[in-house]
Symmetry: C2
DNA sequence: GCCGTCAATATCGTCCTACGATTTCATCTG
DNA sequence: CAGATGAAATCGTAGGACGATATTGACGGC
Protein backbone atom coordinates (compact mmCIF):
# COMPACT_ATOMS: atom_id res chain seq x y z
CA UNK A 1 0.00 0.00 0.00
CA UNK A 2 2.72 2.38 0.95
CA UNK A 3 5.62 0.71 -0.79
CA UNK A 4 7.33 2.43 -3.69
CA UNK A 5 6.67 0.86 -7.03
CA UNK A 6 10.34 0.14 -7.54
CA UNK A 7 12.95 -0.48 -4.90
CA UNK A 8 16.47 0.78 -5.25
CA UNK A 9 19.85 -0.77 -4.68
CA UNK A 10 20.44 1.18 -1.49
CA UNK A 11 17.31 -0.19 0.15
CA UNK A 12 18.11 -3.70 -0.94
CA UNK A 13 21.58 -3.48 0.53
CA UNK A 14 20.30 -2.02 3.79
CA UNK A 15 17.70 -4.76 4.02
CA UNK A 16 20.33 -7.37 3.30
CA UNK A 17 22.46 -6.17 6.18
CA UNK A 18 19.50 -5.83 8.52
CA UNK A 19 18.28 -9.31 7.79
CA UNK A 20 21.85 -10.56 7.90
CA UNK A 21 22.00 -9.38 11.48
CA UNK A 22 18.85 -11.29 12.31
CA UNK A 23 20.09 -14.47 10.69
CA UNK A 24 23.53 -14.25 12.22
CA UNK A 25 25.32 -13.61 8.94
CA UNK A 26 26.57 -10.37 10.46
CA UNK A 27 27.44 -10.25 14.13
CA UNK A 28 27.60 -7.19 16.40
CA UNK A 29 31.09 -5.78 16.48
CA UNK A 30 31.93 -7.05 13.04
CA UNK A 31 33.97 -4.74 10.89
CA UNK A 32 32.46 -3.96 7.51
CA UNK A 33 35.07 -3.46 4.83
CA UNK A 34 33.70 -1.61 1.85
CA UNK A 35 35.75 -3.39 -0.77
CA UNK A 36 34.72 -6.80 0.47
CA UNK A 37 31.04 -5.96 0.78
CA UNK A 38 30.81 -4.41 -2.66
CA UNK A 39 32.18 -7.63 -4.11
CA UNK A 40 29.99 -9.86 -1.98
CA UNK A 41 26.82 -7.95 -2.78
CA UNK A 42 27.73 -7.11 -6.35
CA UNK A 43 27.19 -3.37 -6.02
CA UNK A 44 29.16 -0.19 -6.29
CA UNK A 45 30.81 1.67 -3.48
CA UNK A 46 28.39 4.58 -3.90
CA UNK A 47 25.36 2.45 -3.20
CA UNK A 48 27.03 0.66 -0.32
CA UNK A 49 28.07 3.88 1.35
CA UNK A 50 24.58 5.29 1.03
CA UNK A 51 23.19 2.17 2.62
CA UNK A 52 25.69 2.31 5.46
CA UNK A 53 24.86 5.94 6.05
CA UNK A 54 21.21 5.01 6.25
CA UNK A 55 21.90 2.22 8.71
CA UNK A 56 24.05 4.45 10.85
CA UNK A 57 21.04 6.70 11.28
CA UNK A 58 19.14 3.77 12.75
CA UNK A 59 21.99 3.08 15.15
CA UNK A 60 22.66 -0.30 13.57
CA UNK A 61 26.13 0.43 12.32
CA UNK A 62 28.63 2.96 13.57
CA UNK A 63 30.90 4.85 11.23
CA UNK A 64 34.23 6.14 12.49
CA UNK A 65 36.15 8.43 10.23
CA UNK A 66 38.92 6.67 8.32
CA UNK A 67 38.19 3.52 10.28
CA UNK A 68 35.09 2.47 8.48
CA UNK A 69 31.83 0.95 9.59
CA UNK A 70 31.10 -1.85 12.01
CA UNK A 71 27.95 -3.49 13.29
CA UNK A 72 27.12 -1.84 16.58
CA UNK A 73 27.61 -3.77 19.76
CA UNK A 74 25.51 -2.62 22.68
CA UNK A 75 26.81 -2.33 26.19
CA UNK A 76 24.67 -3.49 29.07
CA UNK A 77 23.88 0.09 29.83
CA UNK A 78 22.82 0.82 26.27
CA UNK A 79 20.56 -2.22 26.35
CA UNK A 80 18.93 -1.01 29.53
CA UNK A 81 18.38 2.43 28.05
CA UNK A 82 17.04 0.87 24.90
CA UNK A 83 14.58 -1.30 26.79
CA UNK A 84 13.38 1.69 28.74
CA UNK A 85 12.55 3.60 25.60
CA UNK A 86 11.18 0.57 23.84
CA UNK A 87 8.84 -0.24 26.70
CA UNK A 88 7.49 3.26 26.63
CA UNK A 89 6.70 3.07 22.94
CA UNK A 90 5.28 -0.43 23.02
CA UNK A 91 3.12 0.61 25.93
CA UNK A 92 1.77 3.45 23.85
CA UNK A 93 1.13 1.10 20.95
CA UNK A 94 -0.70 -1.38 23.19
CA UNK A 95 -2.77 1.36 24.77
CA UNK A 96 -3.76 2.79 21.40
CA UNK A 97 -4.47 -0.62 20.00
CA UNK A 98 -6.63 -1.67 22.91
CA UNK A 99 -8.51 1.62 22.94
CA UNK A 100 -9.12 1.73 19.22
CA UNK A 101 -11.65 -1.06 19.34
CA UNK A 102 -10.68 -1.88 15.80
CA UNK A 103 -11.93 -5.14 14.46
CA UNK A 104 -8.35 -6.08 13.62
CA UNK A 105 -8.69 -9.36 15.38
CA UNK A 106 -7.69 -11.05 12.18
CA UNK A 107 -4.34 -9.32 12.33
CA UNK A 108 -3.60 -10.23 15.86
CA UNK A 109 -4.84 -13.71 15.14
CA UNK A 110 -2.09 -14.01 12.61
CA UNK A 111 0.44 -13.16 15.28
CA UNK A 112 -1.01 -15.68 17.63
CA UNK A 113 -1.02 -18.29 14.93
CA UNK A 114 2.63 -17.65 14.25
CA UNK A 115 3.36 -17.95 17.94
CA UNK A 116 1.65 -21.31 18.01
CA UNK A 117 3.81 -22.40 15.13
CA UNK A 118 6.87 -21.38 17.07
CA UNK A 119 5.83 -23.56 19.96
CA UNK A 120 5.81 -26.41 17.51
CA UNK A 121 9.28 -26.23 16.05
CA UNK A 122 11.16 -23.88 18.33
CA UNK A 123 13.42 -22.79 15.52
CA UNK A 124 15.15 -19.49 15.94
CA UNK A 125 14.11 -18.41 12.46
CA UNK A 126 10.48 -18.88 13.40
CA UNK A 127 11.04 -16.95 16.58
CA UNK A 128 12.30 -14.00 14.56
CA UNK A 129 9.28 -14.20 12.28
CA UNK A 130 6.91 -14.26 15.23
CA UNK A 131 8.52 -11.21 16.70
CA UNK A 132 8.33 -9.36 13.40
CA UNK A 133 4.71 -10.29 12.82
CA UNK A 134 3.75 -9.33 16.33
CA UNK A 135 5.16 -5.84 16.07
CA UNK A 136 3.77 -5.31 12.59
CA UNK A 137 0.31 -6.17 13.82
CA UNK A 138 0.64 -4.13 16.96
CA UNK A 139 1.60 -1.02 15.02
CA UNK A 140 -1.17 -1.69 12.57
CA UNK A 141 -3.91 -1.79 15.19
CA UNK A 142 -2.34 1.14 17.05
CA UNK A 143 -2.94 3.20 13.93
CA UNK A 144 -0.12 5.62 14.68
CA UNK A 145 2.12 5.99 11.67
CA UNK A 146 4.90 7.62 13.62
CA UNK A 147 5.27 4.68 15.95
CA UNK A 148 6.93 2.22 13.55
CA UNK A 149 9.24 4.94 12.33
CA UNK A 150 10.50 5.82 15.79
CA UNK A 151 10.49 2.51 17.59
CA UNK A 152 14.08 1.20 17.66
CA UNK A 153 13.23 -2.36 16.73
CA UNK A 154 16.23 -2.72 14.43
CA UNK A 155 18.44 -1.67 17.28
CA UNK A 156 16.76 -4.27 19.45
CA UNK A 157 17.75 -6.82 16.82
CA UNK A 158 21.34 -6.11 17.78
CA UNK A 159 20.51 -6.94 21.34
CA UNK A 160 18.80 -10.14 20.26
CA UNK A 161 21.85 -11.13 18.26
CA UNK A 162 24.16 -10.50 21.18
CA UNK A 163 22.21 -12.55 23.66
CA UNK A 164 21.34 -15.40 21.34
CA UNK A 165 24.11 -17.70 22.55
CA UNK A 166 22.95 -17.26 26.12
CA UNK A 167 19.23 -17.56 25.60
CA UNK A 168 17.57 -20.83 26.52
CA UNK A 169 14.62 -22.37 24.78
CA UNK A 170 12.54 -21.70 27.89
CA UNK A 171 13.31 -18.01 27.77
CA UNK A 172 12.32 -17.81 24.12
CA UNK A 173 9.06 -19.55 24.81
CA UNK A 174 8.40 -17.31 27.75
CA UNK A 175 9.01 -14.27 25.62
CA UNK A 176 6.68 -15.49 22.92
CA UNK A 177 4.11 -16.10 25.61
CA UNK A 178 4.51 -12.45 26.56
CA UNK A 179 3.68 -11.43 22.99
CA UNK A 180 0.61 -13.60 23.13
CA UNK A 181 -0.53 -12.03 26.38
CA UNK A 182 -0.21 -8.57 24.89
CA UNK A 183 -2.01 -9.59 21.72
CA UNK A 184 -4.91 -11.08 23.63
CA UNK A 185 -5.40 -8.15 25.97
CA UNK A 186 -5.17 -5.69 23.09
CA UNK A 187 -7.67 -7.74 21.16
CA UNK A 188 -9.99 -7.74 24.15
CA UNK A 189 -9.79 -3.97 24.26
CA UNK A 190 -8.65 -4.06 27.86
CA UNK A 191 -6.29 -1.09 28.13
CA UNK A 192 -5.11 -1.68 31.66
CA UNK A 193 -4.47 -5.35 31.14
CA UNK A 194 -2.57 -4.61 27.94
CA UNK A 195 -0.33 -2.13 29.70
CA UNK A 196 0.26 -4.64 32.47
CA UNK A 197 1.15 -7.30 29.92
CA UNK A 198 3.71 -5.01 28.31
CA UNK A 199 5.19 -4.15 31.68
CA UNK A 200 5.45 -7.84 32.53
CA UNK A 201 7.22 -8.63 29.27
CA UNK A 202 9.79 -5.93 29.76
CA UNK A 203 10.30 -6.72 33.42
CA UNK A 204 11.14 -10.24 32.38
CA UNK A 205 13.52 -9.05 29.69
CA UNK A 206 15.27 -6.67 32.09
CA UNK A 207 15.69 -9.48 34.54
CA UNK A 208 17.36 -11.55 31.87
CA UNK A 209 19.69 -8.70 30.96
CA UNK A 210 20.81 -8.31 34.56
CA UNK A 211 21.73 -11.95 34.77
CA UNK A 212 23.54 -12.21 31.45
CA UNK A 213 27.33 -12.64 31.62
CA UNK A 214 29.54 -9.70 30.77
CA UNK A 215 30.75 -11.51 27.71
CA UNK A 216 27.46 -10.87 25.98
CA UNK A 217 28.17 -7.15 26.05
CA UNK A 218 31.91 -6.63 26.14
CA UNK A 219 33.15 -9.90 24.69
CA UNK A 220 35.35 -9.87 21.65
CA UNK B 1 32.81 14.31 25.18
CA UNK B 2 31.31 11.93 22.72
CA UNK B 3 31.94 13.88 19.55
CA UNK B 4 34.32 12.48 16.93
CA UNK B 5 37.58 14.32 16.72
CA UNK B 6 36.96 15.26 13.12
CA UNK B 7 33.64 15.82 11.45
CA UNK B 8 33.03 14.77 7.89
CA UNK B 9 31.42 16.46 4.94
CA UNK B 10 28.30 14.33 5.15
CA UNK B 11 27.59 15.43 8.70
CA UNK B 12 28.22 19.04 7.85
CA UNK B 13 25.80 18.91 4.96
CA UNK B 14 23.13 17.16 7.00
CA UNK B 15 23.53 19.75 9.74
CA UNK B 16 23.33 22.53 7.19
CA UNK B 17 20.01 21.24 5.91
CA UNK B 18 18.65 20.59 9.37
CA UNK B 19 19.53 24.05 10.56
CA UNK B 20 18.32 25.47 7.28
CA UNK B 21 14.92 24.06 8.09
CA UNK B 22 14.94 25.75 11.47
CA UNK B 23 15.96 29.08 10.02
CA UNK B 24 13.50 28.94 7.18
CA UNK B 25 16.14 28.61 4.50
CA UNK B 26 14.48 25.36 3.51
CA UNK B 27 10.73 25.01 3.73
CA UNK B 28 8.67 21.81 4.01
CA UNK B 29 7.65 20.55 0.61
CA UNK B 30 10.62 22.11 -1.10
CA UNK B 31 12.20 20.05 -3.83
CA UNK B 32 15.91 19.45 -3.41
CA UNK B 33 17.75 19.29 -6.69
CA UNK B 34 21.11 17.60 -6.37
CA UNK B 35 22.93 19.69 -8.94
CA UNK B 36 21.83 22.93 -7.35
CA UNK B 37 22.65 21.88 -3.80
CA UNK B 38 26.09 20.59 -4.66
CA UNK B 39 26.89 23.98 -6.14
CA UNK B 40 25.36 25.92 -3.27
CA UNK B 41 27.15 23.89 -0.61
CA UNK B 42 30.32 23.38 -2.57
CA UNK B 43 30.40 19.61 -2.25
CA UNK B 44 30.26 16.55 -4.44
CA UNK B 45 27.19 14.60 -5.37
CA UNK B 46 28.41 11.58 -3.41
CA UNK B 47 28.56 13.48 -0.16
CA UNK B 48 25.24 15.15 -0.76
CA UNK B 49 23.51 11.90 -1.53
CA UNK B 50 24.91 10.30 1.61
CA UNK B 51 23.63 13.24 3.62
CA UNK B 52 20.19 13.02 2.04
CA UNK B 53 20.08 9.32 2.74
CA UNK B 54 20.88 10.04 6.35
CA UNK B 55 18.18 12.70 6.59
CA UNK B 56 15.62 10.42 5.00
CA UNK B 57 16.21 8.00 7.85
CA UNK B 58 15.18 10.70 10.28
CA UNK B 59 12.05 11.39 8.28
CA UNK B 60 13.19 14.90 7.42
CA UNK B 61 13.40 14.41 3.70
CA UNK B 62 11.63 11.92 1.48
CA UNK B 63 13.31 10.33 -1.50
CA UNK B 64 11.26 9.12 -4.43
CA UNK B 65 12.99 7.13 -7.05
CA UNK B 66 13.96 9.16 -10.12
CA UNK B 67 12.09 12.10 -8.66
CA UNK B 68 14.64 13.14 -6.11
CA UNK B 69 14.39 14.40 -2.57
CA UNK B 70 12.14 16.97 -0.97
CA UNK B 71 11.74 18.34 2.52
CA UNK B 72 8.92 16.43 4.13
CA UNK B 73 5.65 18.18 4.75
CA UNK B 74 3.52 16.73 7.52
CA UNK B 75 -0.22 16.27 7.29
CA UNK B 76 -2.39 17.14 10.25
CA UNK B 77 -2.70 13.46 10.97
CA UNK B 78 1.05 12.94 10.89
CA UNK B 79 1.49 15.84 13.29
CA UNK B 80 -1.01 14.34 15.69
CA UNK B 81 0.75 10.99 15.54
CA UNK B 82 4.08 12.69 16.00
CA UNK B 83 2.91 14.59 19.06
CA UNK B 84 1.55 11.42 20.58
CA UNK B 85 4.90 9.69 20.29
CA UNK B 86 6.83 12.77 21.30
CA UNK B 87 4.75 13.25 24.42
CA UNK B 88 5.41 9.69 25.44
CA UNK B 89 9.15 10.10 25.12
CA UNK B 90 9.31 13.51 26.75
CA UNK B 91 7.24 12.17 29.60
CA UNK B 92 9.77 9.41 30.08
CA UNK B 93 12.59 11.93 29.99
CA UNK B 94 10.89 14.15 32.56
CA UNK B 95 10.15 11.21 34.81
CA UNK B 96 13.72 9.97 34.66
CA UNK B 97 15.09 13.44 35.15
CA UNK B 98 12.91 14.17 38.14
CA UNK B 99 13.62 10.81 39.72
CA UNK B 100 17.37 10.95 39.20
CA UNK B 101 17.86 13.61 41.82
CA UNK B 102 20.93 14.68 39.92
CA UNK B 103 22.42 17.96 40.91
CA UNK B 104 22.07 19.13 37.34
CA UNK B 105 20.29 22.25 38.43
CA UNK B 106 22.96 24.23 36.68
CA UNK B 107 21.90 22.66 33.38
CA UNK B 108 18.25 23.37 33.78
CA UNK B 109 19.13 26.81 35.00
CA UNK B 110 20.73 27.45 31.66
CA UNK B 111 17.51 26.53 29.93
CA UNK B 112 15.53 28.79 32.19
CA UNK B 113 17.98 31.59 31.61
CA UNK B 114 17.57 31.19 27.88
CA UNK B 115 13.82 31.25 28.30
CA UNK B 116 14.09 34.50 30.17
CA UNK B 117 16.13 35.91 27.36
CA UNK B 118 13.42 34.90 24.95
CA UNK B 119 10.87 36.82 26.94
CA UNK B 120 13.05 39.83 26.44
CA UNK B 121 13.40 39.93 22.68
CA UNK B 122 10.79 37.52 21.39
CA UNK B 123 12.88 36.75 18.34
CA UNK B 124 12.11 33.51 16.58
CA UNK B 125 15.80 32.63 16.48
CA UNK B 126 15.97 32.85 20.25
CA UNK B 127 12.86 30.72 20.52
CA UNK B 128 14.59 28.00 18.53
CA UNK B 129 17.64 28.22 20.74
CA UNK B 130 15.52 27.93 23.86
CA UNK B 131 13.80 24.86 22.54
CA UNK B 132 17.09 23.24 21.63
CA UNK B 133 18.68 24.05 24.98
CA UNK B 134 15.67 22.79 26.85
CA UNK B 135 15.69 19.40 25.20
CA UNK B 136 19.45 19.05 25.44
CA UNK B 137 19.25 19.65 29.16
CA UNK B 138 16.28 17.39 29.63
CA UNK B 139 18.01 14.48 27.94
CA UNK B 140 21.13 15.18 29.92
CA UNK B 141 19.43 14.96 33.28
CA UNK B 142 17.36 11.99 32.15
CA UNK B 143 20.61 10.12 31.65
CA UNK B 144 19.18 7.78 29.03
CA UNK B 145 21.41 7.72 25.96
CA UNK B 146 18.79 6.13 23.78
CA UNK B 147 16.33 8.90 24.32
CA UNK B 148 17.98 11.62 22.22
CA UNK B 149 18.60 9.11 19.46
CA UNK B 150 14.99 8.05 19.21
CA UNK B 151 13.10 11.21 19.97
CA UNK B 152 11.90 12.70 16.68
CA UNK B 153 12.85 16.28 17.46
CA UNK B 154 14.13 16.94 13.96
CA UNK B 155 10.81 15.81 12.61
CA UNK B 156 9.11 18.15 15.03
CA UNK B 157 11.18 20.93 13.50
CA UNK B 158 9.25 20.33 10.30
CA UNK B 159 6.04 20.88 12.19
CA UNK B 160 7.42 24.07 13.73
CA UNK B 161 8.38 25.33 10.31
CA UNK B 162 4.94 24.61 8.93
CA UNK B 163 3.04 26.40 11.66
CA UNK B 164 5.37 29.35 12.00
CA UNK B 165 3.28 31.70 9.87
CA UNK B 166 0.24 30.96 11.99
CA UNK B 167 1.81 31.11 15.41
CA UNK B 168 1.27 34.21 17.49
CA UNK B 169 3.73 35.73 19.89
CA UNK B 170 1.42 34.76 22.76
CA UNK B 171 1.48 31.12 21.74
CA UNK B 172 5.26 31.11 21.58
CA UNK B 173 5.50 32.64 25.02
CA UNK B 174 2.99 30.18 26.35
CA UNK B 175 5.00 27.32 24.92
CA UNK B 176 8.21 28.61 26.44
CA UNK B 177 6.38 28.90 29.71
CA UNK B 178 5.54 25.22 29.35
CA UNK B 179 9.23 24.40 29.04
CA UNK B 180 9.92 26.39 32.15
CA UNK B 181 7.24 24.55 34.10
CA UNK B 182 8.75 21.21 33.11
CA UNK B 183 12.25 22.37 33.96
CA UNK B 184 11.22 23.56 37.37
CA UNK B 185 9.28 20.48 38.33
CA UNK B 186 12.08 18.24 37.09
CA UNK B 187 14.57 20.29 39.05
CA UNK B 188 12.43 19.97 42.14
CA UNK B 189 12.45 16.22 41.70
CA UNK B 190 8.67 16.11 41.71
CA UNK B 191 7.88 13.26 39.34
CA UNK B 192 4.12 13.65 39.30
CA UNK B 193 4.24 17.38 38.79
CA UNK B 194 6.75 16.95 35.99
CA UNK B 195 4.52 14.46 34.19
CA UNK B 196 1.58 16.79 34.60
CA UNK B 197 3.61 19.66 33.21
CA UNK B 198 4.51 17.64 30.13
CA UNK B 199 0.88 16.62 29.65
CA UNK B 200 -0.17 20.25 29.90
CA UNK B 201 2.35 21.36 27.31
CA UNK B 202 1.26 18.76 24.81
CA UNK B 203 -2.43 19.31 25.47
CA UNK B 204 -1.87 22.93 24.61
CA UNK B 205 0.06 22.06 21.46
CA UNK B 206 -2.62 19.62 20.34
CA UNK B 207 -5.25 22.27 20.84
CA UNK B 208 -3.31 24.60 18.61
CA UNK B 209 -2.97 21.94 15.93
CA UNK B 210 -6.71 21.36 15.89
CA UNK B 211 -7.38 25.04 15.33
CA UNK B 212 -4.77 25.59 12.64
CA UNK B 213 -6.07 26.21 9.11
CA UNK B 214 -5.76 23.45 6.54
CA UNK B 215 -3.30 25.53 4.60
CA UNK B 216 -0.64 24.84 7.21
CA UNK B 217 -0.73 21.17 6.30
CA UNK B 218 -1.90 20.84 2.73
CA UNK B 219 -0.86 24.23 1.36
CA UNK B 220 1.31 24.39 -1.68
C1' DG C 1 63.30 -8.82 25.80
C1' DC C 2 60.54 -4.39 25.84
C1' DC C 3 59.31 0.10 24.03
C1' DG C 4 59.27 4.02 20.94
C1' DT C 5 60.03 5.54 16.00
C1' DC C 6 59.11 5.20 11.41
C1' DA C 7 57.97 3.54 6.95
C1' DA C 8 54.67 0.51 4.26
C1' DT C 9 50.12 -0.82 3.63
C1' DA C 10 45.22 -0.96 3.96
C1' DT C 11 41.25 1.49 4.09
C1' DC C 12 38.46 5.38 4.01
C1' DG C 13 36.60 10.18 2.41
C1' DT C 14 35.75 12.99 -1.29
C1' DC C 15 35.57 14.37 -5.88
C1' DC C 16 34.92 13.33 -10.56
C1' DT C 17 33.08 11.33 -14.96
C1' DA C 18 30.01 8.46 -17.40
C1' DC C 19 25.78 6.55 -18.92
C1' DG C 20 21.32 4.17 -18.69
C1' DA C 21 16.60 4.87 -16.55
C1' DT C 22 12.81 7.59 -15.59
C1' DT C 23 10.18 11.58 -15.02
C1' DT C 24 8.83 16.10 -16.58
C1' DC C 25 7.50 19.30 -19.78
C1' DA C 26 6.90 21.65 -23.98
C1' DT C 27 5.46 20.71 -28.57
C1' DC C 28 2.96 18.68 -32.12
C1' DT C 29 -1.07 16.47 -34.18
C1' DG C 30 -5.73 15.30 -34.82
C1' DC D 1 -8.40 20.80 -26.25
C1' DA D 2 -6.93 15.68 -25.35
C1' DG D 3 -3.55 12.71 -26.23
C1' DA D 4 0.86 11.31 -28.40
C1' DT D 5 5.63 12.39 -28.87
C1' DG D 6 10.09 13.69 -28.35
C1' DA D 7 13.65 16.59 -25.95
C1' DA D 8 15.48 18.00 -21.70
C1' DA D 9 16.16 17.54 -16.89
C1' DT D 10 17.14 14.78 -13.23
C1' DC D 11 18.11 10.75 -10.85
C1' DG D 12 20.49 5.94 -9.86
C1' DT D 13 24.42 3.32 -10.21
C1' DA D 14 28.96 2.15 -11.52
C1' DG D 15 33.65 3.00 -11.32
C1' DG D 16 38.15 5.55 -11.26
C1' DA D 17 41.31 8.76 -9.01
C1' DC D 18 43.85 10.61 -5.22
C1' DG D 19 44.76 12.66 -0.75
C1' DA D 20 44.05 11.65 4.33
C1' DT D 21 44.26 8.73 8.05
C1' DA D 22 44.65 4.49 10.81
C1' DT D 23 46.86 0.17 11.28
C1' DT D 24 50.56 -2.86 11.03
C1' DG D 25 54.94 -4.56 11.16
C1' DA D 26 59.94 -3.72 10.94
C1' DC D 27 63.69 -1.53 12.99
C1' DG D 28 66.79 0.10 16.36
C1' DG D 29 67.79 1.83 21.15
C1' DC D 30 67.53 0.78 25.93
Amino acid sequence: MNAPATIGTTEKVADAIRSGIRTGQFVPGQHLVEAELTLRLGISRSSLREALRHLSGDGIVAIHRYRGAHINRLTRREVRDLLEVLEQLVTLAARLGAASGHANRSLMDAALEAARRHDADGDHRTYIAVRQAFYDCLFEVAGNQELPRVTPLRRADLFRAQIRPYQTREQQDSHTEGYRAIAQTVNAGDVEAAEAAVAALFAQTREMVDVLPDMAFEGD
